[in-house]
Symmetry: C2
Subunit: 417 residues, 2 copies
Amino acid sequence: MLIHSASQLLTLTPEPQRGAALGTLNMIEDGAVLIEGETIVAVGRTAELLDAAPPEERLDASGCVVMPGFVDPHTHLVWAGNRAAEFELKMAGAKYLDILAAGGGILSTVRKTRQASLEQLLAETRPRLRTMFAYGTTTVEVKTGYGLETETEIKLLQAILALDAEGPIDLVPTFLGAHAIAPEFSGRPQAYTDCLCQEMLPAVRAWWQESAPSRPLPFVDVFCENKAFDLEQSRQILSRAKELGFPLKIHADEFDNLGGVSLAVELGAVSADHLVKTSQADIAALGRSDTVAVSLPCTPFGLAENEYTPARSILEQGGILALATDCNPGTAWCESMQFVLALACRALKLTPAQAIAAATINAAHALRLADRIGSLHPGKQADLLILSVPDYRMLGYRFGVNLVRQVVKRGRVYPVP
Amino acid sequence: MLIHSASQLLTLTPEPQRGAALGTLNMIEDGAVLIEGETIVAVGRTAELLDAAPPEERLDASGCVVMPGFVDPHTHLVWAGNRAAEFELKMAGAKYLDILAAGGGILSTVRKTRQASLEQLLAETRPRLRTMFAYGTTTVEVKTGYGLETETEIKLLQAILALDAEGPIDLVPTFLGAHAIAPEFSGRPQAYTDCLCQEMLPAVRAWWQESAPSRPLPFVDVFCENKAFDLEQSRQILSRAKELGFPLKIHADEFDNLGGVSLAVELGAVSADHLVKTSQADIAALGRSDTVAVSLPCTPFGLAENEYTPARSILEQGGILALATDCNPGTAWCESMQFVLALACRALKLTPAQAIAAATINAAHALRLADRIGSLHPGKQADLLILSVPDYRMLGYRFGVNLVRQVVKRGRVYPVP
């Protein structure tokens, strides 16, 4: 199939875009993409590629931007129930950590998720995945973390694998048993930390090798924050995970700086996520590392807070910046990477081009998938978007609606009505 | 037709909701709406109304919220071109009024709009109207103001009338010849003010009475702001418009407080819009009046500014608060009233229920249409939404996507895929 006559074809770069390089779109005007099966075989100008496909296999993208599908590298997409009632409370002034301390917040989602059957979890998650896909996300990372005990955590991994198998969107799993202190260990964070290290991580590894032997191990992530896991507990969990062969991620500096970023860099974590209260020293450490800084601007927005990731500092220090939705029922129920881009331009002071690169190639790097997705180059998976607009800067400039006309996933075209 | 089994049927009130009364949803659980032709004939519980329609004329809304269609009472929807390039500049620090002073900004849209044919304007505006409708807006106010001379301003009124005739969305026209100082009068705001009063307003009135004799005169609006029209010029324009029989609106306090709100109250304007820099004295004046305070939170959001309408003060003083998109190419290209609600909860500290009432019945009042739209009561136009969610608080809680499943406009059902 040939997608041709795109007003702007954004190919980006195969490499992640570090620091000042962020925003390199490598734009081809009147561009075309030749696809065979699930794979891109050529990109170039329409005039060069038009004869490579017969007329019945051509898709006209005139008046449209064609670009890589969004990669959303941080979500908590599998949960049961909702927290709409809590939302009203929060808007009236209650804080996330206060609600957490009172046994509400995340623990109410944990209760509902533990009670839910696998089928129920799949049924509640599918509409969220459909929405993500319709808004242009072609690969999404999904964390466990609403089980907080082995059985439910494995049920969540099963859900992620089952939804990935259903397609069309690709799901990338992360084990986040260390999302909060399990209610059974209330007031005993060290005991839950020991349980994670001694029982849960080995059990997850064994289950994975039995159930999904052909897939790489999932990421292991930890919520390094006051009232969750302190720096030493985070180190203990991540070190144990590393020893077991898991690749690492971390939630750090959402509300307080406990030093999680430097820990992530020290342990070679693939990404460090949130990064609101990050210090200059930590930003410098990120800049010297390959750990991707994943900013989640929907979270401060969702909480009506005004402090966001110091993105421009991260870029000045040479860091690799990515963007994600953080889609979750507590702080940010938003499936749309397009909204993340619009917010990132305003709150993080990114240009539309920078936001696009952070949401595609750099986000792919945050999942160690940059060899396969995140840019449009021969040999890569044919995951791309056809926007209903002719100028990429409409992403960012316009907000609150969907500018995707069609999603192409593994070479197959899906209309977005 | 009977729409039945709605998880929550929000009927609201026929009256506008003033001050502390804002947020009165008058919810009926397991609710039903009986429609004949274009008109609501009954609302109640499903059990009471089910037999009123044969099975083939029933629409099952189980698991859904049913509520009035959104009324968007402030937009600049008819324009040509876009200002995506300017968006990047703004994110880099340039201010709206600086761009205006440099002859860019709004005047670049004026140039393109003057050059555009009526057909071209219709073609560029239709997709915006389709998006608004898909996101649940069933009536939208649309201002002129990108002509700034009689001929183009009348072309814009023609466009509004033509798009209204096309349907399904209803358009309500406003003449905003006083949107900025016309380039021909650069540096001579008083001369343009005199031209508006002596030539343009009478010409518009004569054209209207010739071209749309069956319709009430459009609103007349003025941008009362530094570098646009000062308080005395605003008074001159609005007084002349009132003398000619036009109902009045005003843009006030977006960037500076010039006293426009008190002028609006004094002249009996239907609404005063923007209201960011509004003083306590002006808020008190609003509270004693029937002038609706229309807040446009997408505009500070679009400009990446942190100051919003003091909505809670307006409510404390007994004001009538409404919400609108302000959809325009310069500061806020957003068609979605759902996003306005999500932003209003966070930035204006409204509850979801308050935001819903501000975007329906109070917004209808801001257009003097509350006798016909804005709530679900017998005799009113059957303009309503069927949401894909069972709890109205999902509006506000969730953001960046579309929760509308079907739009019912004048009794006809339109799917939203």
